[in-house]
């Protein structure tokens, strides 16, 4: 039994945690959810006593009745790894890149003096097999860079549970992973918690994941636990307004009407896109990789089409070809009947604009918002009333005309995404490509941006190509969906039809893997 009792933490008098209390029982998973900056990760680090040196703590953490607070750093080292294991968000960087995976797992055993080297390696082999890395396919001599993200996260789990700790802290363990990989890691963690009789503190921002994983849920806001509930009670059993709004935002459905079927706007006909890989030989051509492999589809004016796939499936490459940024190696793309290519005329280019994922990287940090939004005027002649048009675009995305004078860093993530949308609107395009446009946003911000997109579509008759890995988003904002895998479209159907009766195996796999919230 692990108890966190009124744990408070502040750094230079700024309170980060306020009286956080948690009880963690063997074989049970406690989900700690909240938006970014709510103090979830700091709670974990405070339990491990790995918080920044400047942090001042009060309250207590008790492990089977023993308070951890008074322990010396040396005694704490004995606790870490043996009694409490921890895994982190970023499996790509969480392992030492120059050490073999076997050694990294064995180190947990060696550092606690539980085995000699030979025994430790044998145990490491055993534990790696337990997390699904069987020795004949994944020998102990592998280096992290030879494994995928999901496999690396398995190694991290193996070294965290090598000594069968009483508590496993998992801090956003699947956030960096694709949805099918996420499902496998979640299943593994569930199994381990039950089998090894560990307590698990599962930290996430993803409400679907927590609903699936946890026995109990604690909702955190500004360093405070504002609501405790269970997955079964969701969403009706919530009482705190923040927790309520958080869950309703996650399941938010923007109001949008089915579009009148318009004329064909974008036609993609057997598109092929190869790109060169790094050269492996001094002489001879570089090898190529076929990222988009014979993709065909059609998008009508005013329609909203989703393109779903996991990372590396070629969806962003396809997007760049549709934007006329990169040439095709086969097939053709036509916008309103005219060929799309890197050499296409500005008058055609004007008709398709884009919004990207990263609200931080989307703007030149040295330009003012007004100049950023006006940049696509490069395609048209700069109109005389350019400033008025920029002001109108800002107002149409819910910002004010005076924001044109500010720099992008003065805005929050959600506001920046509004600026990006304003920039896409400025040339009055027919089609906007939304490339993971809401993926980096917290749920409540995301809900408002989706509302805005639905509203703009109705007002301006825009067509959207909505590219994302997130099925829940696609479901509420598109009319039709395509599922992409390894450069090909494996299924295309009306949105509801696809979710109700998926045809392709891969689609079914994706849908099964996606953590879904209980319907409101």
């Amino acid at each position: 039994m692990i108890e966190v009792d009124r744990l408070s933490l502040s750094i230079r008098d700024v309170p980060i945690l306020r009286e956080v209390s948690l009880a963690l029982a063997p074989g049970r998973t406690l989900g700690l959810v909240g938006e970014s900056g709510s103090g979830k990760s700091m709670t974990a680090l405070a339990i491990m006593r790995l918080a920044p040196r400047a942090a001042e703590m009060s309250g207590a953490v008790r492990l089977e009745g023993q308070a951890l607070g008074p322990l010396s750093e040396r005694q704490m080292c004995d606790i870490r790894g043996r009694e409490i294991g921890m895994i982190f968000q970023e499996p790509m960087t969480a392992l030492n890149p120059v050490q073999r995976i076997g050694d990294q797992v064995a180190e947990t055993l060696l550092v606690h003096g539980h085995a000699n080297r030979g025994e430790a390696m044998a145990r490491a082999k055993d534990r790696l097999a337990r997390v699904g890395l069987v020795p004949d396919r994944f020998p102990l001599s592998r280096y992290p860079f030879e494994l995928s993200g999901g496999q690396r996260q398995r190694v991290c789990i193996a070294l965290a549970i090598a000594l069968r700790p009483k508590l496993l802290i998992a801090d956003e363990p699947t956030t960096a992973l694709d949805v099918t990989t996420q499902a496998q890691i979640l299943a593994l963690l569930k199994e381990l918690v039950a089998e090894e009789d560990m307590a698990c503190l599962f930290i996430t921002h993803d409400l679907g994941v927590v609903a699936e994983m946890a026995h109990e849920i604690a909702v955190m806001q500004r360093g405070e636990i504002v609501e405790r509930t269970t997955p079964d009670a969701l969403p009706g059993g919530l009482s705190h307004p923040y927790a309520k709004s958080l869950f309703s935002a996650a399941g938010h459905v923007p109001a949008r009407a089915a579009p009148a079927p318009g004329a064909p706007l974008l036609e993609v006909d057997g598109a092929v896109r190869d790109y060169a890989l790094p050269k492996t030989r001094l002489i001879g051509p570089a090898p190529t990789f076929r990222a988009v492999d014979g993709v065909s589809f059609m998008l009508r004016a005013g329609e909203s089409l989703g393109l779903v796939g996991e990372s590396g499936c070629g969806k962003s490459t396809l997007a760049r070809a549709i934007l006329g940024l990169e040439p095709l190696q086969g097939g053709a793309i036509r916008l309103a009947g005219a060929e799309v290519s890197p050499e296409m005329a500005p008058a055609l280019r004007r008709r398709v604009q884009v919004v990207f994922q990263d609200p931080y990287g989307s703007f030149n940090p040295r330009h003012r918002v007004g100049r950023l939004i006006a940049e696509p005027f490069h395609l048209t002649a700069r109109p005389n009333d350019a400033e008025a048009q920029v002001a109108a675009a800002l107002e149409s995305v819910g910002l004010s005309a005076s924001d044109a004078e500010k720099f992008p860093h003065e805005f929050s993530g959600g506001q920046r995404q509004r600026i990006a949308i304003a920039r896409a609107l400025i040339t009055k395009p027919d089609l906007i490509v939304l490339d993971e446009a809401v993926s980096a946003l917290d749920v409540s911000v995301r809900a408002r941006i989706l509302d805005l997109l639905a509203d703009l579509q109705a007002r301006f008759g825009l067509a959207y190509l909505f590219i994302t890995h997130d099925l829940t988003v696609v479901r509420v904002i598109t009319d039709r969906v395509m599922v992409m895998r390894a450069g090909r479209i494996v299924e295309e159907a009306g949105t509801e039809a696809l979710f109700e009766a998926p045809q392709a195996d891969y689609t079914r796999e994706l849908l099964a893997a996606a953590p879904m919230l209980p319907a409101a």
């Binding site: 392992l95 120059v98 550092v111 492996t280």
Partner: protein, 315 residues
């Protein structure tokens, strides 16, 4: 691994070949008639013609280049015009001073810099760190030949512990030879050690902030043990790059330092070759120095592969 070695070796052979062309053109192509250049303005036409014949300058540029390269590859570096002995002999003789000097300086610099850099990183933000930052900042700003002059002033004139210059030769014994090389090595090592210590410090601080250090701490490693087991090896990768570059700086620095201390080394040889317009010596010794730099780069590349499995296993 083999593929990596072969690729690196090939690319280095290419840069050597390119470097030889550049050297050849600068020395034989640019000044017009090398023989006239070597003999100066007042030389008799007959003397110039005789030298041309002696130097094998009759053929075209390409022919001469091929002849020079053929000689270099078979160990025939030509004959010095001023010393009247084969350049290979001169080089072998002078290398007995220059190579130990460079090794001495490199050893000093590495032995001082790495611990100092590690100490600063481990105490980052504290007074020890600030002190080290300040001292290394000063060390980088000091021209090594001026530092050499100060060393002479202090340790050879005011307190005559070392000699102010000259080299007794290894015949006088290893101890006497090392003693004569000590001040030059210290002068050469100081700026290098300052740079290296700073690189070590920042590389280590960067690895200390990495995710795998957090993983190591979560496993139960103490901070010191985590540094020893995980951070150091990763931090060595950028340090290796700088070590490789430093060899080239040491060679160049040695040219000036050998002049301060009147050491009969390769640097002094090339410098004398320039002042005496002995182009054969200049051309061949420059090529040898470039060869040395490129070889060290190659060795550093191999060391990289040893330190970083990602390079070793790449296809």
């Amino acid at each position: 691994m083999l593929r990596y070695v072969v690729t690196r070796a090939l690319s280095l052979a290419l840069s050597l070949a390119a470097a030889s062309v550049v050297i050849f053109i600068v020395i034989q192509g640019v000044p017009g008639d090398p023989a006239a250049f070597m003999l100066g303005l007042n030389a008799e036409p007959e003397t110039v013609a005789a030298l041309r014949a002696e130097l094998g300058l009759e053929g075209g540029l390409v022919q001469r280049y091929v002849a020079w390269m053929g000689g270099m590859l078979t160990g025939d570096f030509g004959t010095s015009y001023t010393y009247r002995v084969p350049v290979a002999e001169l080089v072998a003789d002078r290398a007995k001073v220059s190579v130990p000097l460079a090794a001495y300086a490199l050893a000093l610099s590495t032995l001082i810099a790495l611990p100092v850099g590690i100490l600063a990183a481990a105490r980052r933000g504290g007074p020890v760190d600030w002190g080290i930052i300040g001292l290394t900042q000063l060390g980088i700003a000091v021209p090594n030949f001026w530092f050499a002059m100060l060393l002479v002033l202090l340790l050879a004139i005011t307190f005559p512990i070392f000699s102010a210059g000259g080299f007794p030769g290894w015949e006088a014994g290893v101890w006497a030879g090392m003693k004569a090389l000590t001040l030059p090595a210290v002068a050469l090592a100081l700026p290098q050690a300052s740079i290296l210590a700073r690189v070590m410090r920042s590389a280590l601080i960067e690895t200390l902030a990495s995710d795998y250090m957090r993983t190591a701490r979560a496993k139960g490693l103490s901070e010191g043990r985590a540094i020893r087991a995980h951070a150091l090896r990763n931090a060595m990768i950028p340090v290796l790059t700088i070590l490789g570059l430093q060899f080239s700086f040491l060679l160049a620095g040695a040219i000036i330092i050998e002049n301060v201390f009147y050491l009969p080394g390769l640097g002094r040889l090339i410098f004398q070759g320039i002042t005496q317009r002995d182009l054969i010596v200049v051309q061949s010794v420059t090529m040898l120095l470039v060869f040395a730099v490129v070889t060290v780069t190659f060795l550093v590349d191999l060391a990289y592969a040893a330190a970083d499995p990602r390079l070793r296993r790449r296809r």
